[in-house]
């Protein structure tokens, strides 16, 4: 950011502060007065030479014009590719360091300011943490569920706090919901795909558009069909066992948001099981994890999952029973 940008940024921040002020300090009824005084201060700060002081009448007008929201905002620091950012001052071997950073998402080479992180490192850490928390506590939008043409249901959890604190409820459905599921899916289908928000709604919104058509296209190649895809709100992985019992599908494939970390909040997993049933050992699930733009691409994962489902149907097994 150069000096000119910095100046205009400070100006706009100050103007925003000023713009909000009249509402709070409405002690004086005269309209121009409250805005005139702070705007003078604002210009004075932005331009220490205080040319505005010489022409006080100009200030309010300028102020009014600049108040228009131009839609500008601060740069999104989470867009910076950390693997290419080396913050160590004067490194002995910059190329070697960057080469090392290419191989890991860990925050290497962040440098330091005294004994602490630099400001950018500290801010980025908070930003990534915030994104992770948002991913957990937000919901997959209803529009998205509609757009993807999913059959929406929910587990016994009634809100996020209950979802977080009561894992047992996240794997159960009410009797009415199970009936609804039975009515809206194909009984004894070869494949039943379901989507669950899990611990990251962001992961679902980021990957579903690409992975679902890749899976269905791949399945089609093997002569398999998957329709009536379910969407489960407040979903824990074992809820797929209930779906298995309800639909009697040969293979159930659950696409679910993974617990987000600081590297990405958009990582999704596919849990796939052959004839899952409530109470079965966890070892019967096959997992493909790390599906996100920085891991396995969603489309490629989808093509792989299709083949995996086909193998499970052929071999009538999944999890550790399925030697790949």
């Amino acid at each position: 950011m150069n000096e000119k940008d910095l100046k205009s940024m400070i100006e706009s921040i100050l103007n925003e502060m000023v713009g909000n002020e009249p509402a709070e300090t409405n002690a004086k009824p005269a309209a121009p007065a409250p805005s005139a005084a702070p705007s003078e201060a604002a210009v004075a700060v932005a331009q220490p030479t205080a040319s505005a002081a010489a022409q006080p009448t100009m200030a309010p007008q300028e102020q009014m014009q600049e108040q228009v929201d131009t839609g500008e905002c601060l740069d999104d620091i989470t867009e910076i590719n950390l693997r290419k950012l080396l913050l160590v001052d004067d490194p002995e071997d910059r190329e070697g360091y960057l080469k090392m950073k290419e191989k890991t998402p860990a925050r290497l080479g962040v440098g330091r300011a005294g004994p602490r992180y630099k400001t950018i490192t500290s801010l980025r850490f908070r930003a990534d943490h915030a994104a992770a928390q948002d991913a957990v506590f937000s919901y997959v939008s209803e529009d998205f569920v509609k757009e993807m043409n999913l059959v929406a249901v929910e587990t016994l959890c009634s809100h996020k706090d209950e979802y977080i604190t009561r894992p047992d409820l996240g794997r159960q459905f009410s009797a009415e919901t199970i009936e609804y599921i039975k009515q809206n899916t194909t009984k004894q289908a070869k494949v039943q795909i379901m989507v669950g928000d899990g611990l990251s709604s962001a992961a679902i919104e980021a990957n579903l558009r690409d992975i679902v058509p890749a899976i269905t296209q791949g399945l089609k190649m093997y002569g398999l069909e998957a329709d009536n895809i379910l969407f489960v709100k407040h979903c824990r992985v074992p809820s797929m066992d209930v779906i298995g019992d309800a639909t009697e599908a040969d293979v159930v494939c659950l696409l679910v948001g993974e617990r987000p970390g600081l590297v990405t909040a958009e990582s999704m997993s596919a849990y796939i099981a052959y004839k899952p049933t409530v109470g079965m050992p966890e070892a019967r699930r096959t997992v493909i994890s790390n599906i996100h733009s920085g891991g396995t691409p969603a489309v490629e994962a989808g093509a792989h999952i299709a083949e995996l489902i086909k193998t499970m149907i052929d071999r009538k097994a999944s999890g550790i029973d399925l030697k790949l």
Partner: protein
């Protein structure tokens, strides 16, 4: 899972022919919870043949029968049969590649040596294979430095530059240990290569056939040869003979090179002092090695010890030519091996437009591969995208489908080679567009360029990956 591939390397050089057998270990490095990721984790040479002189017939053609006998003998000595060989490469190098029957010998020998033993030739590939056999790429990677390897054989010096394990550049010069031959007993000059003769004339150095020489007499001409090598790596300004001595191209020399390593027959006399008569091999190899050891090449650059010297090229051919494809790929046909398919690599601007642009570019460029209006089998190569959307994959598939229309009429499967990890979904999309009627082979994690050829072997590791060789086939 740990799978092994038995690989053979055969090098038919200017002066010697050799063979090695290597074991390539393949492992799935991915955890059980992600898509597979198979890589070659280890390469070990398990058998080194004797070194024989490359047999040449009276009419200056390569003696195919003798070479086949040599290969058979070595297989028997190593206790293996041809059927056990799973992969490998035959490389024809230096002067031998310029013989009239070079191509013919290469093709038939590769078939003779094993089902998926591929034929390779070309000065750039030679440089790369020798440098890898010498361990230059590993050296540069381990030490995070840059290195040039010079493989000095009988007829040529092949240069390859690596930085942090990545290949940067290659070059080749007509400088070698057997460009002047000297009779072991009489010490009379029996052969002078044309370019060396020209060099001697230019510099006013007396040099004639039948001349009886001492090492001191040869010092001036060998000195000139070493100077040209210094020029080739950028430690001496380019002189007036440099362009003449270059075989096909020199290094770009756009960056400093920190280290140097030597391979090839002459290298032994750079690293070690020779014992016995300097003309014991009937050539100037030992003297050339000595002169290099005393030159700025070893003083100004950090000298790295090569892992292999005279066997660098053959070890490179045996251990470093076979790669494996990405682990999520599509192939609907099993008629492997597929050998020597030329690559058509599209440009980034071809790829960045819509599907029509891509299709047009493919159609246009396919005409390059027409011989008498007959289209050869061609593999289409694209860069692809990291983490593409499904729409983008469809765009690629539509463009490829449309552009490859002419190839559809051939009996071969369609071959698409992608750099980024998207081959499984792209292959499936393409197969769907073809109505599941035309076979598709779609590979990724492979870097190729125009002028390259690809060979694809039988699937390994339960069919997850395909062994491949990316190579050139250039005869002079």
């Amino acid at each position: 899972m740990n799978e092994q591939l038995l690989s053979v390397g055969i090098d038919m050089g200017t002066s010697t022919t050799q063979l090695v057998l290597s074991k390539l270990h393949i492992e799935n490095l991915a955890s059980s919870f992600t898509v597979p990721r198979l890589v070659i984790t280890n390469k070990e040479v398990v058998y080194r043949s004797d070194i024989c002189f490359t047999p040449v017939l009276a009419d200056n053609r390569i003696d195919m029968i003798q070479i086949q006998q040599f290969v058979q003998e070595q297989y028997a000595k190593a206790g293996i049969s041809k059927e056990e060989i799973q992969t490998g490469a035959v490389i024809i190098t230096g002067e031998t590649a310029r013989k009239e029957n070079a191509s013919e010998v290469l093709q038939s020998l590769s078939g003779f040596a094993g089902d998926f033993v591929v034929a390779t030739a070309g000065p750039d590939l030679e440089s790369i294979i020798a440098a890898k056999g010498a361990g230059a790429h590993t050296y540069s990677k381990d030490r995070s430095t840059s290195i040039v390897n010079i493989d000095i054989g009988g007829g040529t010096s092949n240069l390859a530059v690596f930085a942090s394990g990545d290949l940067l550049d290659t070059g080749c010069l007509d400088i070698g240990g057997r460009l002047i031959k000297v009779d072991q007993n009489s010490h009379e000059i029996t052969y002078i290569a044309p370019k060396i003769k020209q060099l001697a004339e230019r510099r006013g150095i007396a040099l004639a056939l039948g001349q009886r020489v001492t090492p001191a007499d040869l010092e001036p001409i060998i000195g000139e040869m070493v100077k040209l090598l210094e020029e080739s790596v950028g430690i001496r300004p380019l002189g007036d003979f440099y362009d003449t001595i270059v075989t096909n191209k020199g290094l770009k020399l756009d960056r400093n090179i920190a280290s140097i390593s030597f391979s090839g027959g002459v290298a032994d006399y750079i690293y070690n002092e020779a014992t016995g008569d300097v003309f014991q091999y009937g050539d100037i190899g030992i003297l050339l090695g000595r002169a290099i050891a005393a030159s700025p090449l070893t003083n100004q650059l950090t000298v790295a010890r090569a892992a292999e010297t005279i066997r660098a090229t053959v070890v490179g051919a045996g251990s470093h030519t076979t790669e494996i494809s990405g682990s999520t790929i599509t192939y609907t046909d099993e008629s492997f091996p597929i050998k020597s398919v030329p690559i058509l690599k599209l440009s980034l601007s071809d790829e960045s437009g819509d599907d029509e642009t891509l299709a047009r570019a493919i159609t246009d460029k396919l005409s390059w591969f027409k011989l008498n209006n007959d289209l050869q089998q061609v593999a289409i190569a694209i860069e692809g995208k990291s983490s593409p959307s499904f729409q983008e994959v469809q765009k690629y598939a539509r463009g490829l489908h449309k552009g490859m229309a002419e190839l559809l009429e051939q009996k071969y499967p369609l071959i698409v080679v992608v750099h980024h990890d998207m081959a499984k979904v792209l292959g499936q999309t393409l197969y769907a567009l073809l109505d599941y009627k035309k076979d598709v082979i779609c590979l990724d994690s492979v870097v190729v360029d125009n002028g390259d050829y690809i060979d694809i072997g039988k699937p390994i590791a339960d069919g997850k990956v395909l062994p491949i060789v990316i190579k050139t086939l250039v005869f002079h």
